[in-house]
């Protein structure tokens, strides 16, 4: 027992490389951290951006045409819209999954892994669908 515990250095502090390359998250962990990252992105900058778009497009017909035909034609804007759609859809799907987990539904390992894959796939699929409609 003494020799076994002597080999491991405890406590182990995690460096950034360890966090990035050594720790391998299970799929539900990925859903969780992506839910957090997408939530942070939605708070900033996406709420401000959507408010700007809503403001401009509702203010006048010129504003609407500008947003629709010229602003959305910019490559960087297109990329931003895609990231926004993904963040919104992933956050929504993962959030619905968490609501079911709160109700003690789908908490066993097999179901939790399956629904995690479904959430990740649904987020990407919805991004593809809405992204395709934009172009």
């Amino acid at each position: 027992m003494a020799s076994a515990s002597a080999k491991k250095i405890r406590p182990k502090y995690l460096s950034l490389p360890a966090l990035l390359f050594e720790i391998r998250l299970p799929v539900p962990g990925w859903v969780s951290i992506l839910h957090r990252i997408s939530g942070a992105l939605l708070f900033f900058p996406f709420v401000a951006w959507v408010l700007y778009l809503l403001d401009t497009s509702l203010a006048s017909e010129q504003g609407f045409d500008y947003v629709r035909n010229r602003y959305f034609a910019l490559p960087l804007v297109k990329l931003g819209v895609l990231v926004f759609i993904w963040a919104y859809c992933h956050h929504l799907c993962a959030g619905i999954r968490f609501l079911f987990l709160d109700l003690d539904i789908g908490g066993d390992l097999k179901t939790a892994r399956l629904t995690s894959w479904i959430v990740i796939a649904a987020g990407l699929a919805l991004t593809a669908v809405f992204g395709a409609r934009l172009w």
């Binding site: 942070a40 708070f43 403001d55 509702l58 609407f64 929504l92």
Partner: protein, 112 residues
Amino acid sequence: MKRLVVGAHYGLRDWLAQRVTAAIMAVYTLILAAVLLKGSFTYGAWKDLFAQGWMRVATLLFAASLAWHAWVGVRDILMDYVKPDGLRFALQILVLLMLASYLGWAVQILFR
């Protein structure tokens, strides 16, 4: 009046609020998606949509839900990652100011 700053029941209201506001926003999202997929996307249709009373109220409810939901969520993130008390406090104030600005901007857009 005795007010508890910390304690066992302190987080329940926030926890519940985050879930209720999430449900409100999810329903709004489905309604908006249905409306947008049904109609044609022109300036007239877009303006008429947000000129209707129910849409303005629903959007305002969405905005208020978002502000509360985002406050709980972003505060959780700050509590997890920002350890120095002063910096965390300053960032929380910044987040509150931003959310208040978002809400004010949304009201301005909806009721001008």
